[in-house]
């Protein structure tokens, strides 16, 4: 196989992989919506953090790794959607959204709607 056609084959494969990742991501989003609508709550915070604590480094250190990663990414961006944060954390949007909502339910971050988008932020 010539190098040009090999490159072309690799690009095609990457495009296919990208399409498959988007399909999986949409399915995860749907699953999370179904779960939320049936139980009213998706998952439970896995650590006891007293409410009203500020999200400083001492609170960060007490969080489980997956939530700490989201919290640090949000600290860096200030205000962001789950999509923005998923690019920082290299996680699928639906998973990132779930972690952010866990942080909201723990009272560590807040969210607000701007038009069709939901923005997460840390209150200072």
């Amino acid at each position: 196989m010539s190098s040009r056609s090999a490159d072309s084959a690799v690009v095609d494969l990457l495009r296919k992989l990208n399409r498959n990742v988007e399909i999986v991501s949409k399915k995860l989003d749907k699953l999370i919506e179904v779960e939320r609508s049936s139980t009213g709550h998706f998952g439970r915070p896995t650590v006891d953090v007293p409410e009203g604590l500020p999200l400083d480094v001492t609170t960060l250190l007490s969080l489980p790794d997956h939530l700490r990663k989201s919290a640090i990414a949000l600290s860096s961006l200030g205000e962001a959607t789950a999509t923005d944060l998923s690019k920082e954390t290299a996680r699928v949007r639906a998973v990132e959204s779930d972690y952010l909502n866990q942080l909201v339910s723990m009272g560590l971050i807040k969210k607000k709607r701007k038009g069709r988008d939901v923005y997460f932020y840390i209150e200072t």
Binding site: L53, P54, L55, D56, V57, T58, L60, L61, D65, R68, K69, I72, S75, S76, L77, G78, I122, T124
Partner: protein, 260 residues
């Protein structure tokens, strides 16, 4: 550029382990080799970079954390002073007594903002100044500003002297902070008396003993050199004395961190 830049933080359990000398010499070496470097003095309780660079900046890092200026305003271009191939930007913290008292008075709500501003500021510096290496010099121990810097780092270099005080404290930091933050970490043993290395069975065995005790890989071991203590704050060895033992240690550290 953001993906290629590396953020390094130098931390220690105790003071006086030589972090500032390591940071300055490492930053200068990378800049001499052609990299764009930014060094930030995040030791707000005992600022010292301003002494070595004889700096009187228009804005301090303290001003940035108080939201009185942008982080770019705090950076001073020190490259021309040393005729470097790359750039060396330095952000200084305010050594005045008033600034030190101000730092001590901060509450947890302020620290939340400081963490955000540290992480956002680091990103802005890397993007706007096209930085290859951003290096934090931090306060020893579990200080908010230090852990904020560690939270923003890709690699944490823990600088220690290998006495019992340092060993026990470092073990605690390793478990409670470095592991918790999930950063790549390693130890730089500094100011180690040759007698201690010999009593430990030689450099390799001594190094492995410390690695096992602390639970972190050894980046490098630098022997104690009295002349460095006399010249502290006056000489950047990697620029002025590149063949010195200390400069060669810094060169090895620079390679190890480049490849981590």
């Amino acid at each position: 550029m953001l993906l290629l830049a590396k953020t390094l933080a130098f931390h220690s359990y105790k003071g006086g382990t030589g972090k500032t000398s390591l940071v300055v010499n490492l930053g200068a070496l990378y800049a001499k080799q052609g990299a764009n470097v930014c060094v930030l003095d995040y030791d707000f309780r005992a600022p010292s970079l301003n002494v070595l660079f004889k700096a009187k900046p228009d804005h301090w890092l303290n001003d940035y954390l108080e939201d009185n200026c942008s982080i770019i305003d705090t950076l001073v271009d020190e490259s021309a002073k040393f005729n470097l191939r790359g750039k060396l930007w330095v952000g200084f913290s305010n050594p005045s007594l008033e600034a030190l008292k101000n730092v001590m008075s901060k509450d947890r709500r302020w620290e939340v903002k400081a963490l955000s501003r540290t992480l956002a500021g680091k990103k802005q510096i890397i993007e706007e100044k096209k930085i290859d290496y951003l290096i934090f010099d931090t306060s020893p121990g579990a200080q908010y500003s230090s852990i904020n810097a560690l939270a923003g780092a890709d690699i944490v270099s823990l600088v220690m002297k290998a006495d019992e005080f340092d060993l026990e404290g470092t073990k605690e930091l390793s478990k409670g902070v470095y592991e918790a933050l999930g950063r790549k970490s390693g130890v730089v043993l500094n100011k180690i008396p040759l007698e201690q290395i010999a009593a430990g069975g030689g450099a390799e065995k001594f190094g492995k003993t410390i690695e096992a005790e602390v639970g972190l890989p050894l980046i490098d071991m630098i022997p104690c050199m009295c002349e460095l203590m006399a010249m502290g704050g006056k000489t950047i060895y990697t620029l002025e004395k590149p063949d010195h033992t200390f400069s060669r240690s810094i060169a090895r550290i620079s390679e190890t961190l480049r490849n981590m």
